[in-house]
């Protein structure tokens, strides 16, 4: 459904282009929930925006991106007409972004429905809007309310309803659970999972929250410094990490019944344009050896997953 081949994405600035994402090979099958996991600033939103066609005009690309059998990025050319907002939609990281504070939820839903299904009668538009609201488990009373009259969790649901209005095939949800309390996080995640099953959607779920990822995903993609460092077809790799980065990331999670101090990952994630040579993780990696500093490791198949780490190189040869 979504396939990228050596995709690179960068942003133009005064002195050139800062490449944020490089050599991304991603494959997301139809009807699968894929989680993009990584620290803040590693390029998750950038990847999500590329898939949903929402990169700003000053973004630069190379490689290819195919969404729903349409080549949408080919080299430095982008063509999202007919795909963006129709086949693939994005739920923005910032919930304030999706909803116009000066229009009622009902009005915003109806406009979207009318645009995508011209010729529907006003009555049908309204009932479709109410249906969408009930799909995201909001009451009919929300139809006549303004965004500021909704709670944070309700706003997320309303934003999801709005994204679903064009009946898309792919949804990119950019941290849909951030800034929600623990209960609402799972409520929103399970709502997305339910919708994904019922509507047979392909869901790209972006998060830095490993526990949510475990809860919702089929496929895991761990991103570090704009690269895939570990990819597995099941949430199992979140139990037994291969890449040192994922290992440290999981150690940094609080565990139940554990009195140990939380570990943290030493150092800072690198900034785009200032990525180190060799393995991008080597300044922070506890297992670093000479080769890591010189050469960037390729993606290596290791058992049930793909890992970008020299430690798995020897065993992959045998």
């Amino acid at each position: 459904m979504v396939r990228s081949e050596e995709l690179g994405i960068g942003y133009e600035h005064d002195e050139g282009v800062a490449w944020v994402v490089e050599d991304l090979d991603l494959e997301v099958e139809h009807g699968v929930v894929t989680c993009l996991i990584g620290e803040s600033g590693c390029g998750k939103s950038t990847i999500g925006n590329a898939i949903s066609g929402l990169l700003p005009p000053y973004a630069r690309t190379y490689g290819r991106l195919v969404v729903a059998d349409r080549v949408v990025i080919d080299g430095d050319k982008m063509n999202f007409t007919g795909v963006r907002g129709k086949v693939v939609v994005r739920i923005a990281q910032d919930p304030a972004s999706a909803l116009n504070p000066y229009l009622t939820i009902g009005e915003q839903l109806s406009t979207a429905i009318r645009t995508h299904f011209p010729g529907l009668s006003e009555h049908d538009v309204r009932s479709k809007a109410l249906e969408l609201l009930s799909d995201v488990m909001l009451g009919e009373d929300v139809y006549d309310r303004y965004p500021h009259q909704l709670s944070g969790g309700m706003k997320r649901r309303a934003a999801i309803a709005l994204a679903l209005a064009p009946e898309p095939e792919v949804i990119v949800a950019d941290e849909p659970t951030s800034a929600l309390d623990a209960y609402l996080k799972y409520a929103v995640a399970s709502l997305l999972k339910k919708l994904q099953r019922e509507w047979e959607l392909t869901l790209v779920f972006i998060t830095h929250d490993v526990s949510i990822a475990r809860y919702i995903c089929d496929q895991v993609v761990v991103v570090y410094a704009g690269r895939i460092v570990e990819e597995g077809a099941s949430p199992r790799c979140l139990e037994s990490p291969s890449h040192p980065y994922l290992e440290l990331l999981l150690k940094a999670l609080p565990k139940r019944f554990s009195k140990d101090r939380l570990a943290d990952i030493p150092g800072m994630p690198p900034r785009p344009g200032m990525y180190p040579t060799g393995c991008k993780f080597h300044p922070r990696c506890p297992y670093v050896f000479e080769r890591c500093r010189q050469e960037e490791p390729p993606i290596i198949k290791a058992g049930d997953r793909l890992v970008r780490c020299w430690r798995y190189y020897e065993q992959s040869l045998t």
Partner: protein, 301 residues
Amino acid sequence: MSSLPLRSTIEDITSLLTRTWRKRPGFRVSLIIMIVLFTVAALGPYIAPYPRQGLGVEIDVTNALLPPSPKHILGTDSLGRDVLSRVLFALGRGLYQSLVVVAVSLVLGIVVGSFTALAPRSIEAVVSYVIELLLALPSILLAALLAILLGGTATSITVALIVTWFPWYARVSYLQARGLRELDFVRIPLYYGLSRAYVVVKHIGPNILAPMIVEALSDMGSVVLEISSITFLFGIGIGSFEEPDLGMMVANGLRDLVRAPWVFTAPAAILALIAIVFTVFGEAVYEEHHPILRRRWWLWF
């Protein structure tokens, strides 16, 4: 349906005004005086004792420069016209003119600013450059020049002031719209193929209208002053000498300042009152809306 965004804008503005009313005594006083001024201005032509003299069509040189008396409460000017009647007519015209300037500039500014933010990059660059250029020109001189070129009538002053005034609103709207255009509720409908006009009316306009109205409210006083400065300095505001205008009356009264100070004092006092009251009103609203900019008037000294 489409009245809904307007309704919440009105709610925003009224809640801002009531909040300011509750908290700021200066705002209360200035608002009351403003209401009185507007009422007097509206009734002016009907309560003026000598409406034909007020309009300027009737002169009576035998009565020139009479001091205040029961017959002419504020005296008469060098052409023998009742100063009170003149002031009453001039007040209405001045306030009406500044309302027109602010309202038209506001609408024009919002339209230009929002469309510029959504326009292709090259057009965006050109328009914002032109706006910067208009802002950089000294507005009184530009308005005076335009007014002369357009024939020196009251209408030409209004048009000239709009030309120099709307770039401010265009720039503020443009900056706000630029922030909004990054948001999904603006971008996505454009990708859907909805027209820019639709997006401006539905999504950008309502979101910038309330802050823009606040700007406009706090600008009214400056517009009255600017109109009067132009007519005072250049005297070209009005086609004939006869028409009532506060700035011109001050300028003409100045000539007889020693012999007949009342001719100068009455319009000057009204102008000062308008300037002070509108400024206090505008600053109160503005500060209440942007609490971070408290005490902006300190910068004046």
